[in-house]
């Protein structure tokens, strides 16, 4: 966005002498602006190909499974799941935390990378944001369906009522969750939609007459592409980015407090907020990586989502994966160092108990896997990165499972130690949530531009100028924008 009005040549005199390397080029080839639009809009304007259907059919099937399983759960009660007196939360809350975590990459890419002016985000931010929206939608299903009486779930909102002083319990992290998730969803949705408006206008302009034109006309909110519009648009984007940035940190911190504020050994840990945020970004990037590898091949967008994009994301995975590994180590150290009987036992049990295989799977996926990304060679293999992205997601799902189930199944009183064994309904709902997610995503890439066209165009233009000092140029531009 900051590359707006790039036609202007930055003053050559201000180029620094130290600039030796050319700035990275994020788009392969030198597509014309016209070609960018054509290529990105192509999937929207033609009947989808076989590959899309091959992805859509199982996704829709899984979504149907989700609907059946949830419906049956509503009819019979959550006793259908493998929960018991000791393990009151398992798959549903694991899925909830998992999906909320997935969402974080989108916000990070669209907000924080925007503020840090990371050019490479342009090709991927739209789909990452969409992923956030769908991930939060998936996540939001679980608090609803996991309660015992879903028909009473509105009690959790502090709405005006006639029950006198009866109100929600503001001490409960579940109430914080409600606010955190809702805020997160609203901001993400607005941000995503706002980012799409110039592209929606492009679509409107391309559309013939008919209903399609009407829809895009309404959605593009009368965008006319004037300098004034662009200038206001720029400011709003920055403000929203500023608003969204703390959410990257806050949402998962709040989710982690569901556990951290409790007394359960394995949950009651102060490290949880940063640990959860890092894990969320880690898993989110894993999911973005996976989606983009799929879409770039199914939609023939290799020149927009390049190996350099994948390389950058792999580096983020390496960083956040290392933070997560450090957090694991810290937990074990703290358990040993505090000498708390119950805490210690929990970590011994985590590594040697009946669910130890989950723990080691988690270590394999979240500690060992990212360390392979130190090498350029591994980062440049699409197949390997795809494998890594899947492992990251499996690992992060199991991380939440280990935290939730392993802590609960052997808490304070050994008399109440029980095993959790998932039922077919637990598994159906887990698979079904992926169906919901992928169905939404696949529909999205069919009906909306999955790459921010205007940003790509701007990036191409800027690259064309071989802007040596983008920062400087941006600063200059900002001045101009403000002055205008």
């Amino acid at each position: 966005m900051s590359t707006l009005g790039i036609t202007q040549e930055p003053p050559q005199s201000k180029r620094t002498a130290l600039q030796v390397l050319p700035p990275p080029r994020w788009i392969d080839g030198k597509p014309s602006v016209q070609r960018v639009t054509e290529e990105i809009v192509r999937p929207l304007e033609q009947w989808p190909g076989k590959e899309w259907w091959m992805c859509f059919a199982p996704s829709a099937g899984a979504l149907a499974l989700f609907l059946i399983a949830v419906n049956y759960t509503f009819m019979k009660g959550i006793g259908l799941w493998g929960l018991n007196n000791s393990v009151g939360w398992a798959f549903a809350i694991t899925n909830f935390v998992f999906w909320v975590g997935i969402g974080h990459a989108g916000t990070l890419i669209s907000a924080i990378l925007l503020l840090f002016r990371q050019q490479w985000r342009t090709s991927i931010n739209r789909s990452a944001e969409a992923m956030t929206i769908f991930a939060v939608i998936c996540a939001a299903q679980f608090p609803l369906i996991h309660v015992g009486r879903p028909w009473m779930v509105f009690f959790i909102f502090p709405y005006p009522n006639q029950r006198g002083p009866l109100w929600v319990n503001f001490r409960s992290p579940l109430v914080w969750d409600v606010f955190a998730i809702n805020t997160y969803f609203i901001i993400s949705l607005v941000f995503w939609y706002l980012g799409m408006i110039p592209d929606l206008a492009s679509l409107r302009d391309r559309a013939g007459t008919g209903i399609r034109k009407k829809i895009f006309r309404i959605l593009s909110l009368g965008w006319n592409g004037s300098h004034r519009t662009w200038s206001r648009y720029e400011i709003v984007s920055l403000v929203l980015a500023g608003l969204a940035t703390p959410l990257v940190l806050s949402v998962h911190s709040v989710v982690s407090m569901d556990f951290a504020t409790s007394v359960v050994p394995g949950w009651h840990t102060t490290i949880f907020p940063p640990y959860f945020v890092a894990g969320a970004i880690y898993s989110g990037f894993g999911m973005v990586l996976m989606l983009l590898i799929i879409t770039r091949s199914t939609m023939n967008l290799q020149s927009y989502i390049t190996m350099r994009h994948l390389d950058m994301m792999a580096k983020v995975l390496l960083l956040t994966g290392s933070i997560v590994s450090y957090a694991y180590a810290t937990e074990f150290f703290a358990a040993w160092y505090t000498g708390n009987l119950y805490e210690r036992y929990h970590f011994i049990n985590r590594a040697t108990g009946p669910y130890a295989w989950c723990f080691y799977l988690m270590v394999l996926c979240n500690v060992i896997t990212p360390q392979t990304l130190w090498f350029k060679k591994t980062r440049s293999s699409v197949a390997f990165l795809f494998l890594v992205s899947i492992l990251v997601n499996i690992g992060m799902w199991f991380e939440r499972f280990v935290i939730i189930v392993v802590s609960l199944h052997r808490a304070f009183l050994p008399s109440s130690w029980n095993m959790f064994k998932p039922t077919i309904w637990d598994v159906s709902i887990l698979i079904g949530s992926f169906g919901l997610f992928f169905t939404c995503f696949l529909v999205f890439i069919r009906v909306l531009p999955m790459i921010a066209m205007w940003e790509v165009k701007a990036a191409i233009a800027q690259e064309g100028h071989q802007a040596a000092s983008t920062h400087h140029a941006d600063r200059e531009l900002r001045k101009e924008v403000v002055n205008a």
């Binding site: 009660g77 015992g148 009486r149 036992y345 008399s415």
Partner: protein
């Protein structure tokens, strides 16, 4: 509440009840009214039931709603009137969208005894087993809903056992017969009577060979009816036969003391108790009585009482013992003989043979020393059905001078009188066709006689067979006529569990079905007109019991008094001359020589030890889902029996919990799941009797395996200890429905023990008050708390069933229990410590600890759980949305979630599905719906009731006014409830005991429940 005018009782009661029931999700009409009676001073208001024959019980639904509305209308202001009119019109309009309406039918003729919402209490006698405990039963709106012990009983006290608690549910059992049956078809009583009388009149009275086979008859009046039959028909034969045999004990008593009656044991007077495979705290003879005595003796201030348990399996009694010796059944006799030899030497007998036993000699010496040191106040008992062993025990008690001290012969126990040999003779006569007619009362030999097929074949030889069974069970489905008996809560009766200690039974409800008391049937066929057992009973008491009470002159007054009290102790009729063995010296020698000579038992193969389980006992109550779902106090397994094997044996065989094994004996083989039981004798397999019923009813059919076919008869006496047993794996396995899988405390300080020495050494042993981040709570008018004395708790599990009955806790069935979803509000945690071969075991009742800084409370997003101003942690069902966060955050894991709709759901057809089963529900407690959390409320309905009573009596609540259900049922009074704010309350005093500790106090949750450490005594060996 204080500004209410006294006198507006209805309104007041109403208000209180509504507040208490605000959370009710299903409100029955009775719940809307709770009018409490003015207290008559001493708590319970008992009444006589003279009018009961015209008693209109049964009709449940009373129009109490109408009563309240009318009374309220009388005080209506204009504003109220307008508001109500508006409401009525709106309600009329909305009537179309109402949920299904349940109609309440008013009683056409009211009764002075029934005030809607007010419970009545009547004394009666338990018919659960032949221990015949005295009860006080709570009757609400015409139906009995809760059983309590009769505090007036000098024998049993206010406690009851799990079985006794559960019998109220058996009253509302769908499987009960609703009318008599003749030749397998429903019939009218008149027809059955005509047929029976026609048959009887076919013979000359002096030729008629008619037999009556009963379990032990503790009812003296019933015994009198039997005597009448004897008089009418000289060849009449009464055979008394118990499902679990005490024959050898009776025979040994006859042999040693000259009377065929079980001595009245006094555990309360004993300082040293040695029990040889006698589960006297769980199932043996009279467990409620013995548990009460035992706890009394073991009170800390009473000093040291040493309890030595010698047994092959792990019984609940063994789990309480100070010293538990693991001895195979085959070695029980040598151990007893070795003890006898040691005691006899101390008594001055010389030249006794030495008996070798598997037990460490030093331990035996120490036990003998202890016994000798406390002679006159020691007690040896045995539950082994073996004449020689029982004689040895008698001899031991005699040498220890315990006779008339801890072994009372003057007023013997009449709780068991069955004779195995008589049963064998009877079957022989039946087979020969010598019996013309047989009547079966309280027995089910087609299920529990070892040779079931032989019995059934013999039964077919009898021209007329009649059963008084209440259901179509294994035996009654084979007879010509079934004349179903009343449930004991519907019938008159009496009992004499211990000689001269009488107990009356009176009906709590008019018979639900077309049943008739067995005594009435017996009288009808004697041509007594009119055949009324009630008048017979009265006459019997007038002639036999009344004269033995010298203080009363008027029989009517005596009768009323006895009915009200339920119990009556007569002056002893005669002092019996206790004829003891002439020559004890030679008896000792004979016993020892016998033992020495007898071939050393086979060491090849394994041994089988068949025992009665605490929950199922002999199997009579198999269709009672409360009992089926009651975890065994030691193994914690529900819904079925299993083959308990020692860890070492399990390792050898390669079996794990739930692996199905095949157990083979000479008499056959059966397959059932194995359970690895620490503390089990390494070569012994223990299996519970009482399971594997096929004709009990839908809850009890085919649960577990019937092992009674394996029981052996030796010289006509049944033996539950079998040798030369084979065991092998089948390769199949099933999951045991266990409620506790982990055995040890994992090194955590959860249940604490101490010794008397340690107590004497340390002055004060309170847990230190740790710093806390929470603000202190303001305490209201009261601060309810509980103290549980682990030294008194035996783990008998009666509290579990009592809580279930009081608080409408659902039964969830075997699959839900297997998935660890049992709903019990109070559970008994059992932990082992020490070696796997013979661990110590400790029980800890665990219910909601009512924390002052409750972790469940902060995490609930909707404030569905809160702490009251009186310190109770309350669960508001209507507000709960079921996030289960509270359950996760509860350190004690006492919160229970309704995973499904457990009431009125055909998939959970146990107690709350049928209209009949729902009659047992306590109207004061809401039935919880699917999706909400529930947990111990400390019987808040009882607290509220006691407060109402105090308010109406214009007095302050006194300590002890409120008893929680678990407290009231406890035979050992291990649980004390009361106001912590009152420093003089019993619970406050207990909290100042140096043994006091709190579980997980270091979490800073400040529980309102405290525990007192268990005291473990040791046997010092030299």
């Amino acid at each position: 509440m204080d500004n209410h005018q006294p006198g507006s009782q209805t309104q007041l009661g109403c208000k209180k009840a509504t507040a208490a029931q605000a959370s009710a999700s299903i409100v029955s009409p009775q719940q809307l009214v709770q009018i409490t009676q003015p207290s008559s001073g001493d708590g319970l208001d008992w009444k006589t039931l003279e009018q009961l024959r015209s008693f209109p019980g049964g009709q449940v639904e009373l129009s109490s709603r109408a009563v309240t509305t009318t009374e309220k209308l009388a005080q209506t202001s204009r504003r109220d009137f307008l508001a109500m009119m508006g409401f009525t019109m709106a309600a009329a309009g909305l009537a179309g969208c109402r949920a299904p309406v349940q109609n309440a039918l008013p009683l056409l003729t009211g009764s002075d005894d029934i005030i809607p919402g007010v419970a009545n209490y009547y004394a009666t006698t338990c018919g659960g087993c032949s221990s015949s405990c005295s009860l006080v039963v709570k009757q609400r709106d015409g139906r009995p809903i809760k059983i309590e012990g009769n505090t007036g009983s000098t024998i049993f006290g206010g406690g009851t056992c799990a079985t006794g608690q559960a019998t109220v549910l058996s009253l509302y059992d769908d499987a009960r017969l609703r009318e008599p049956m003749w030749m397998g078809k429903p019939a009218y009583w008149e027809d059955v009577d005509r047929q029976v009388l026609q048959f009887l009149h076919r013979y000359e009275p002096r030729d008629l060979r008619i037999a009556l086979l009963t379990s032990t008859l503790t009812s003296p009046s019933t015994r009198a009816i039997v005597a009448d039959w004897q008089q009418r028909y000289p060849k009449f034969k009464h055979v008394s036969w118990d499902s679990i045999s005490y024959s050898a004990l009776l025979d040994a008593s006859y042999k040693s003391f000259g009377q065929r009656a079980i001595p009245h044991y006094r555990f309360d007077k004993a300082r040293v108790i040695v029990a040889l495979d006698a589960d006297f705290l769980g199932t043996w003879l009279s467990p409620v009585e013995f548990a009460r005595q035992y706890a009394k003796a073991r009170k800390t201030e009473a000093g040291r009482v040493l309890h030595v348990q010698i047994e092959p399996g792990f019984s609940v009694t063994g789990s309480n013992a100070d010293v538990r010796l693991v001895v195979a059944s085959s070695q029980m006799m040598p151990v007893a003989a070795a003890l006898l030899a040691r005691v006899a030497i101390k008594a001055g007998y010389l030249n006794l043979p030495d008996i070798s036993t598997p037990v460490d000699v030093r331990q035996l010496d120490a036990i003998a020393d202890e016994l000798w040191k406390h002679r006159g106040e020691s007690l040896v008992v045995s539950g082994v059905n073996d004449l020689l062993l029982q004689t040895t025990v008698n001899t031991l008690n005699l040498l220890l001078r315990n006779i008339d001290q801890t072994v009372e012969l003057n007023s013997p126990s009449l709780q068991r009188s069955g004779t195995d040999v008589a049963m064998h003779n009877l079957i022989g006569e039946m087979e020969r066709g010598d019996i013309h007619a047989i009547m079966l009362y309280g027995v089910n030999p087609a299920y529990d006689f070892p040779d079931q097929e032989r019995f059934v074949a013999a039964l077919k030889q009898v021209p007329l067979s009649i059963s008084f069974s209440d259901r179509l069970d294994e035996t009654s489905s084979q007879v010509h006529a079934i004349c179903p008996d009343h449930h004991f809560l519907e019938s008159w009766g009496d009992a004499e569990p211990v000689e001269s200690h009488f107990s009356l039974s009176q009906p709590l409800i008019a018979p639900l079905f077309g049943t008739r008391a067995a005594q009435d049937s017996l009288l009808a066929w004697l041509d007594v007109l009119p055949p009324s057992y009630y008048s017979y009973l009265r006459e019997f008491w007038r002639k036999n019991v009344f004269p033995r009470h010298k203080e009363r002159l008027d029989f009517e007054a005596f009768w009323e008094q006895s009915l009200r009290d339920g119990v009556s102790v007569a002056s002893s009729s005669v002092t019996r001359p206790t004829r003891v063995h002439e020559d004890w010296k030679s008896a000792v020698r004979t016993i020892l020589e016998n033992v020495e000579k007898s071939p050393s038992p086979m060491r090849e193969g394994y041994e089988l030890h068949l025992y009665e389980s605490v929950a199922m006992r002999e199997g009579k109550h198999a269709n009672n889902p409360w009992l089926q779902e009651l975890p065994d106090p030691v193994s914690k397994i529900t819904w079925g029996n299993y083959a308990a094997v020692a860890p070492a044996l399990a390792k050898n065989l390669g079996v794990r919990d739930g692996d199905i094994v095949r157990v083979k004996s000479k008499r056959g083989q059966l397959e059932l799941p194995a359970f690895v039981q620490p503390g089990q004798e390494p070569r012994t397999i223990s299996i519970a009797l009482g399971y594997g019923r096929t004709h009990a009813g839908k809850a009890g059919n085919n649960v577990g395996v019937n092992v009674s076919p394996l029981v052996e008869s030796m010289d006509g006496t049944r033996s539950y200890a079998l040798q030369q047993i084979g065991i092998e794996k089948t390769g199949r396995s099933q999951r045991l429905a266990s409620t506790q899988s982990d055995m040890s405390m994992e090194g955590r300080p959860l249940v604490l023990e101490t010794t008397l020495q340690e107590m004497a050494d340390t002055e004060h042993n309170d847990q230190e008050d740790l710093p806390n981040v929470w603000a202190e709570r303001l305490i209201g008018e009261h601060s309810w708390g509980m103290a549980i004395d682990l030294n008194a708790c035996t783990g008998c599990s009666a509290c579990v069933v009592a809580c279930q009955a009081e608080n409408n806790v659902p039964v969830v069935g075997v699959s839900e229990v297997t998935r660890n979803r049992i709903m019990h509000w109070v559970r008994l945690d059992r932990y082992y410590a020490g070696s796997e071969d013979n661990p110590r075991s400790i029980h800890q009742p665990m219910m909601c600890q009512h924390c002052q800084h409750a972790p469940c409370e902060t995490v609930c997003p909707v404030l569905a759980t809160t702490t009251s101003s009186e310190g109770l942690n309350q669960q508001v069902y209507n507000r709960c949305i079921g996030t289960r966060y509270c359950a996760n955050n509860c350190p004690y894991k006492v919160r229970r979630f309704n995973w499904f709709q457990y009431s009125q759901n055909p998939e959970y057809d146990y107690t709350m599905e049928s209209d009949l089963g729902r009659m047992v529900l306590n109207p004061d407690v809401a039935v919880r719906s699917r999706g909400v959390i529930e947990k111990c409320s400390m019987c808040i309905q009882r607290i509220q009731l006691a407060k109402n009573m105090a308010l109406q009596g214009r007095r302050n609540l006194a300590d002890g006014d409120i008893q929680t259900a678990c407290q009231q049922v406890c035979p050992t009074q291990a649980i004390t409830f009361g106001d912590l704010k009152n420093p003089e309350s019993r619970v406050s005093k207990m909290l100042r005991d140096q043994r006091r500790f709190q579980v997980l106090a270091e979490l800073g949750v400040k529980p309102n429940v405290s525990y007192l450490k268990k005291i473990r005594n040791t046997l010092e060996t030299t």
